[in-house]
């Protein structure tokens, strides 16, 4: 039986007069990779921020791992958030901490982890993104692409059940982009994670997606597999694949 890991019903969000999300409905099952496309400013980032309670929706319902996030108190919400990884579009590395401290920050609450365990996880996470030798560097000493990859490593370190990727490959060269896309796929295969991937990168969509949706004017206007949508009759939909 397919179990819904993420359920979104009639999600609405406006900022003042700017109606960003009008009526979003989504069901994502365990182990699925869903790619979300849409023009810049169509509300993709807002959508995944609503999922983790960073932005409070104006209406509708979000259920993550069987829990309605609206009804959770802060402790329960924090517990739930530990099971959800979030890669920020801007990477959002902590400026005042070096790479090692950045990576171990999400682990700090876990009393079961000894310093050796944490170090092993950090090393593993750095190896995953191909940056073994930057542990002592500060974020300001990294290139944009390296920051992005460290952000990804930090997202993956808790081995979350759900991962929300906001443009994981933007700003990376084609080779690294492909490696990151491959990594996203490997993680899905290895840990059976459920992911939402926001991307404009056709290669990344092709590699990672099981299903795709395209958002326009606050609603999902097209849904299907990569092959279906890239061969769509609608020229506007096809334009995302060029």
């Amino acid at each position: 039986m397919d179990t819904n890991v993420i359920t979104i019903e009639h999600l609405k969000k406006s900022f003042g007069k700017n109606q960003v999300l009008k009526d979003i409905n989504l069901n994502i099952v365990k182990g699925e990779n869903l790619v979300v496309c849409g023009k810049s400013g169509s509300g993709k980032s807002v959508l995944i921020k609503c999922l983790v309670g960073l932005i409070e929706p104006d209406g509708g319902k979000v259920v993550l791992l069987g829990k309605d996030i609206d009804g959770l108190d802060s402790t329960a919400l924090n517990e739930l958030r530990k099971k959800v990884g979030f890669l920020f579009q801007s990477a959002a590395l902590y400026d005042s901490m070096n790479v090692r401290e950045n990576l171990s920050f999400p682990l700090r609450d876990l009393k079961s982890k000894s310093p050796e365990d944490i170090e092993a996880l950090v090393v593993e996470a750095l190896a995953n993104v191909g940056l073994e030798d930057v542990a002592e560097k500060m974020p300001s000493e990294l290139s944009g692409g390296q920051r992005k990859r460290i952000g990804l490593a930090r997202t993956l370190i808790l081995k979350p059940e759900i991962i929300l990727y906001d443009e994981p490959t933007t700003g990376l060269d084609p080779i690294t982009s492909k490696e990151i896309s491959q990594l996203i796929l490997d993680i899905q295969k290895k840990y059976n994670t459920t992911s939402i991937i926001i991307t404009h990168d056709v290669e990344c969509m092709r590699i990672t997606s099981n299903r795709m949706i395209i958002i326009k004017d606050g609603v999902s206007v097209a849904e299907g597999t990569f092959d279906e949508l890239s061969a769509s009759d609608d020229e506007w939909v096809r334009s995302f694949f060029q």
């Binding site: 959800v84 959002a92 902590y94 400026d95 999400p106 609450d109």
Partner: protein, 272 residues
């Protein structure tokens, strides 16, 4: 006109108040409400574990130790200048021997705490405001939140605690250095031994000079910390928001220092 006839008296009055004022007023009450909620949250979070002890120590070091040179220099100058300025008046009244005690009382009761707190507001308040604001606009605070860690506890509680506990220490040091400055000032045109100077000072100093002055510095420190954090935590509008937060943190923290000082004086005078 039927429309006009329908409108009530209050509508007419409010219609005459320009929108600027009503906006400013609602803005003020909104800020007051969210500021109060932010402060109440501090007292809720501080009692709940997990205690971010190492971050608190780090902030105490950054806030306390790094402000030390500035506070020391201003303290010395404060004592020296106050002594030089006060001498002619006291000489006129033939009360030159009162100089050490008078200067000491002014420093310890009022000038030491207030000047140090203002410098603290300028250095630490703006620092906290800018740091948290830049973390806010680059989504670092959001990132802490989604990783299931409580950024309020990690960032705000530690900084406010460090500011609250470090300012009294800094003021005490500034007072001591200012007294030394006063001793130097006295000796520019006279000859009073170190021993005699401090004998004269401590003879006149009373519990009610020292204790209330010390207590109020905790409040100064708290308000500088909480205002800096509030302004930073609620920064908006990208990078320009960072400058704005730092700036208004200093303005409001300095204002808060004066207001608290005024209240403290009123309360103290009940006992004297």
């Amino acid at each position: 006109m039927p429309d006009e006839m329908k409108s009530t008296a209050t509508d007419k009055v409010t219609a005459r108040i320009p929108a600027v004022y009503t906006n400013a007023l609602t803005g003020f009450f909104e800020a007051a409400t969210s500021g109060s909620l932010f402060t109440i949250r501090f007292f809720k979070e501080i009692v709940k574990p997990r205690y971010e002890f190492s971050e608190f120590l780090k902030q105490s070091y950054l806030i306390g130790y790094k402000s030390f040179p500035l506070v020391a220099i201003t303290g010395f100058i404060m004592g020296l200048v106050l002594t030089i300025q006060s001498r002619p008046t006291l000489v006129q009244f033939g009360a030159e021997s009162w100089l050490p005690a008078m200067v000491a009382i002014s420093i310890i009761r009022e000038i030491g705490p207030v000047i140090t707190a203002l410098i603290f507001a300028g250095k630490v308040g703006s620092g906290i405001g800018a740091e948290l604001a830049s973390m806010k606009v680059t989504e670092q605070i959001d990132a802490m939140e989604v990783s299931g860690n409580n950024p309020y506890k990690y960032l705000v509680v530690t900084r406010v605690m460090a500011a609250t506990l470090m300012l009294p220490v800094l003021v005490t040091i500034a007072d001591a250095i200012a007294l030394y400055g006063a001793y130097v000032g006295v000796n520019l045109q006279g000859n009073v031994s170190f021993h005699l100077f401090f004998l004269q000072v401590f003879e006149k100093l009373e519990f009610l000079d020292v204790f209330p002055a010390l207590i109020k510095t905790f409040f100064f420190g708290f308000s500088v910390g909480i205002i800096g954090c509030y302004k930073g935590y609620n920064a908006t509008k990208g990078t320009e928001g960072v400058g704005e937060s730092a700036n208004s943190a200093v303005v409001f923290a300095s204002l808060a220092v004066f207001i608290i000082d005024m209240v403290a004086v009123q309360i103290t005078s009940l006992f004297i």
